[in-house]
């Protein structure tokens, strides 16, 4: 694994169910995501995009194959170690239900650090907050924020731990076209301004256009 590889998966296979209900969601996928790049994973519905992301992000254990994140192999890690990897090395932006409703925007942003018992790096987090234009929204609860603003908070949260990689599963799926564009710009800026590595799952070709690289899946295999 070279220094500029953030994530590498090889021979990744995921099988759900057995017998008649057996579904091969991933079928020997080999893929690498480079550091500091914005990658999009595309493919038709049911092609295995989400499953790939879950396996790579340590949310789901693959049936076969290996996953490395920033030099750490995930396969075989204990539940606790996996949790720590997610907390310290991975950022997430989900489609919806991203934020904890009882915490303010700022508390949501610093939650991963809080969980790790770390203090936020003030200059870095200030930079992230300012870059995402959240300065005057920090003490609002998620319910008081628009969908686009919520996704911005989610992006800030994903960046604040300086993770090896940020995964985003259909981040624009629940947004109107203006907010979608805004979130895509945001992810783009995460890569350009903060040097983050972003892997975004989407089935929206316009979203994929903003990425540096597109990985296309079909029937659990990488086709491009």
């Amino acid at each position: 694994m070279t220094a500029d590889t953030a994530v590498r998966a090889s021979g990744l296979t995921k099988v759900f169910g057995s017998g008649g209900a057996r579904v091969v969601a991933l079928d020997g996928v080999d893929v690498t995501f480079e550091r500091g790049r914005f990658a999009a994973v595309m493919g038709p519905s049911g092609s295995g995009k989400s499953t790939l992301m879950h396996c790579v992000a340590g949310l789901e254990r693959p049936t076969d194959g290996t996953v490395h994140i920033g030099g750490t192999e995930l396969t075989g890690l204990s539940e606790q170690k996996l949790t720590a990897v997610r907390r310290d090395r991975i950022g997430f932006v989900f489609q919806a239900f991203n934020l904890l409703p009882t915490l303010s925007a700022w508390e949501n942003i610093t939650l991963p650090l809080d969980l790790a018992g770390k203090k936020p790096d003030q200059t870095y987090s200030d930079a992230v907050v300012d870059a995402l234009g959240l300065r005057d929204r920090l003490h609002h609860r998620p319910a008081q924020l628009s969908g686009g603003q919520q996704q911005r908070v989610a992006c800030a949260r994903a960046l604040v731990t300086r993770p090896d990689v940020v995964f985003a599963d259909e981040p624009t799926g629940a947004l109107d076209s203006r907010s979608s564009a805004e979130v895509l710009t945001l992810l783009r800026r995460c890569v350009d301004e903060f040097g983050a590595t972003v892997v975004m799952v989407t089935h929206d070709p316009r979203a994929a256009e903003r990425a540096d690289r597109v990985v296309t899946l079909a029937d659990g295999r990488v086709v491009a």
């Binding site: 949310l59 720590a84 915490l103 991963p112 969980l115 790790a116």
Partner: protein, 822 residues
């Protein structure tokens, strides 16, 4: 549609089980209560009613018994086929361990006869020098056939008969059940030759009516004549009354269980309906009417109610019978009774409670708009809190005003009523205001942990605050349970203080006290003579007590208790604290202050006392004494009361430095008599009250169990609603332990809030209760510190316990649930 819903219900087994458990618990408690109360009453009432008594002539006072000659005269009446004289007298049974057996000796002894009174359970009928015992009493005293028993008689002498038989007793009417039967002839010697009653049998019913009239014409004023039928009816009434009063006490527990169960059920239905909002919306979208949805939810509730009630009824019967069998004294039989009425009541309550609790959910479920099916975050509408705030505020303010207006210690009945009513109003008001209180209490806490606390505390407190109504409702079982217990504990503490302080006021330190060993029994008249004659006793005063009708001028005051005493001895031995007027009994009566306040009496008023039938005395009140509520309402000169109407001898107080040693020696051989001193007296008073408190503390146990139930339910609901959130947390790197800890902390926050509120309310209500019951100042009250400590530990324990299962579920929540987009 119904089929779809039932299938759906089966899919949510966990919640269904919880709801069923709540119903089963409530109904089970109720049915068990019925079984226990009916069976105990039936058992205490003896076997089947007697059929061998046509007419019974009964002495109304122990002194007015029938002589053998009178019995013979009744026996000689034409038409009488059988005559049976029944003696009842003092007989104190000494248990195998040398202590007094736990039966009140006053009318425990009787003479054996071959009427239907006795049913031999073991051995044979007693002859001279022998004894038959009631089987329960024998078991409790550790005596059996073949043992030699010691029995102390009215004059203080003892006999040592051999136990030859055990019996069960079939009482006539409401008579107290005797438990020591001597041979018939011997009983005349041991218990006195007078008969308490004479039972007559006749050959035919026609004779019965005629004979009743004849007997009535012979028998004079202090006796009454009843027919066998009347007495049987009376006994049935008594058995039913007993069952009812036992049941009423126990049903309180069952009601608490049902009410708490109602909360669990309502909560569960809310959960089920919330989960199915989209399903309902879909149904509505494809054409189901709101009514159909409502009916479907209610039908579902009824099905669950019937199911739970059936299991509950079966379990209740088993529980009741099991409890009776487990607590049955060894070697006795219980008349197990399962009344269909109890089972019907249980069913009705179970189904009703379920349907009523489901009604709100059904309405809300039916109110779901069809468009909700199209939204991903379909939510249910919430009710406004304004009316709640107004009602609660009015109750609290009104209640506080009522208590404040009656804060003086000179309360009459209206004052007591207003004060207690005020306290209850405040309590109800606080229950109504609970959601606001929860916010008021938890918001500052949330701010605090927001600054200083870690992420666990922060999330836990904020989660508890999310739905203050739910938090408050969840905490309510604890609030009520702990409040009740705390209130009574305050009263208990106050009682101990008052009883201790007044006893120390009234009884000088060196006084020796002679009392019956069993509370509520009486001393024989020979005890006074014996005390006076004991070396070392300088002076002794006998305290008797008798009920007396009293009036102030023309104003009748009902009945109070009087204690006629020898003024000289009284002054010499006791130091009654007189708070107003003088204590000179030679010039008039001294009245208990609370009693005077209650009846708006004062020093100088003249009382009209009916001290004996037909004997009235006009006595001025010369003073008021400070005492507690259980003490005689009036002290007066014994010269005013005919000797045979001075009442029950409750205690003899003796002064003199050598009195204790002398009396200890004099009564060493009398386990039915207790010789003690001032401290012993206080201890006895407090212990008697503690027994009452113990029952109330048992409620704390019940409240705890129910509280756990409620908290588990709410937490489970919350965890369910927050599956996605928990998924997000887990994805962001929160471990299972963290998630578990958040749920546990939330649980502890809720229970501590409920408990703290309960403690505060309990202390407040307790302060009012002791004010009303003991006529003490409202404040300061003694706070029962051990009780509070147990309460606090209990709260945390409940919190931790209740969180176990929901926390585990939360920690197992699927991370992908947060990420999935459906």
């Amino acid at each position: 549609m119904l089929r779809a819903m039932l299938r759906d219900l089966r899919a949510h087994k966990g919640r269904l089980a919880m709801m069923l458990a709540a119903i089963v618990l409530g109904v089970g408690f109720m049915v068990a209560t019925w079984v226990v109360s009916d069976s105990t009453a039936r058992t205490a009432g003896g076997g089947a009613a007697r059929t061998d008594v046509a007419i019974c002539a009964q002495a109304l006072e122990p002194e007015s018994g029938f002589t053998p000659a009178e019995r013979d005269r009744l026996a000689a009446l034409p038409g009488v086929t059988r005559t049976n004289g029944v003696r009842l007298g003092y007989a104190a049974l000494v248990a195998a361990d040398g202590k007094l057996a736990g039966v009140w000796p006053d009318r425990a002894g009787t003479g054996w006869d071959d009427s239907q009174r006795f049913v031999l359970a073991d051995g044979r009928a007693p002859r001279a020098g022998e004894l038959a015992l009631g089987e329960q009493v024998a078991a409790a005293a550790g005596l059996t056939v073949g043992d030699t028993a010691r029995v102390i008689l009215a004059d203080g002498s003892s006999v040592r008969p051999v136990v030859v038989g055990l019996f069960t007793y079939r009482p006539l009417g409401a008579e107290p059940i005797p438990s020591l039967a001597f041979a018939g002839d011997e009983s005349a010697v041991l218990l006195g030759d007078r008969f308490d009653r004479v039972e007559l049998a006749t050959a035919s019913a026609a004779d019965e009516t005629r004979l009743a009239l004849q007997v009535k014409s012979i028998v004079d004023g202090e006796r009454e004549v009843r027919t066998g039928a009347e007495l049987t009816a009376e006994r049935e009434r008594m058995v039913a009354d007993n069952a009812r009063s036992v049941r009423e006490v126990m049903l309180v527990f069952a009601a608490v269980a049902l009410v708490a169960g109602m909360f669990v059920i309502a909560n569960t239905f809310t959960m089920l309906v919330a989960q199915r909002t989209r399903q309902f919306a879909l149904l509505r979208a494809v054409g189901a009417s709101a009514r159909q949805v409502r009916v479907a939810v209610l039908t579902e509730a009824a099905v669950i109610g019937v199911l739970g009630s059936t299991v509950g009824a079966v379990l209740g019967v088993l529980l009741g019978i099991g409890a009776l069998a487990a607590f049955r004294p060894e070697g006795t039989t219980v008349a197990y009774t399962v009344s269909p009425f109890g089972i019907a009541a249980g069913y009705l309550a179970g189904v009703l409670v379920t349907v009523v609790s489901a009604y709100g959910s059904a309405r809300r479920g039916a109110a779901v708009a069809p468009v909700a099916a199209l939204r991903t975050d379909a939510a249910l509408p919430r009710r406004a809190l304004l009316s709640r705030a107004i009602v609660g505020g009015v109750l609290v303010v009104g209640g506080v005003a009522a208590v404040a207006a009656t804060s003086g210690v000179d309360l009459d009945n209206t004052g007591r009523f207003v004060s207690m009513g005020g306290a209850i109003a405040v309590w109800l008001g606080l229950v109504v205001l609970a959601p606001f209180l929860a916010m008021a209490a938890l918001r500052p806490l949330a701010t605090l942990v927001g600054w200083r606390g870690g992420p666990t505390a922060k999330l836990a407190v904020r989660n508890a605050l999310r739905d203050p109504r739910r938090t408050a409702a969840t905490a309510s079982a604890l609030t009520v349970g702990l409040g009740l217990v705390c209130g009574f504990a305050v009263v208990g503490e106050s009682f101990a203080n008052v009883a201790g302080a007044t006893t120390r006021d009234q009884v000088p330190a060196g006084t020796t006290v002679v009392q019956p060993a069993l509370d509520g029994s009486r001393l024989g008249p020979e005890v006074v003579t014996k005390v006076r004659a004991t070396p070392g006793v300088a002076a002794a005063v006998a305290l008797t007590r008798a009920p007396v009708e009293w009036a102030a001028g023309d104003r009748p005051l009902g009945t109070t208790s009087m204690s006629p005493v020898d003024p000289a001895a009284f002054e010499r031995v006791l130091t009654m604290p007189v708070v107003e007027g003088s204590g000179d009994l030679r010039r008039g009566a001294v009245v208990l202050r609370g009693n005077a306040d209650l009846n708006r009496l004062d020093v100088g008023d003249t009382l009209t006392l009916t001290v004996a039938p037909g004997v009235t005395r006009r006595v001025p009140i010369v003073g008021l004494y400070r005492g507690w509520e259980g003490q005689p309402g009036i002290f007066l000169d014994e010269a005013l009361v005919p000797a045979e109407h001075r009442g029950v001898l409750e205690a003899v107080y003796a002064a003199g430095s050598g009195a204790r040693a002398g009396l200890d020696a004099a009564f060493a051989d009398r386990p039915d008599i207790l010789v003690t001193d001032r401290d012993g007296l206080v201890e006895r008073l407090v212990k008697g009250f503690e027994l009452v408190l113990a029952v109330i503390y048992a409620m704390f146990g019940a409240a705890l169990v129910i509280a756990v139930f409620g908290v588990v339910n709410t937490l489970a609901l919350s965890v369910l609603e927050r599956t996605r959130e928990i998924g997000v947390l887990r994805a962001l790197g929160a471990g299972r332990t963290f998630v578990r800890r958040v749920v546990r902390r939330e649980s502890i926050v809720i229970t501590c809030y409920g408990g703290a509120l309960g403690l505060l309310v309990g202390i407040g209500v307790g302060a009012v209760m002791q004010h009303v019951m003991l006529l003490q100042p409202l404040w300061p009250v003694g706070v029962p510190v051990p009780m509070v400590a147990i309460g606090v530990v209990g709260m945390v324990l409940v919190g931790v316990l209740a969180a176990v299962w929901p926390a585990r579920r939360a920690s197992r929540a699927d991370i992908l649930a947060a990420v999935a987009t459906e």
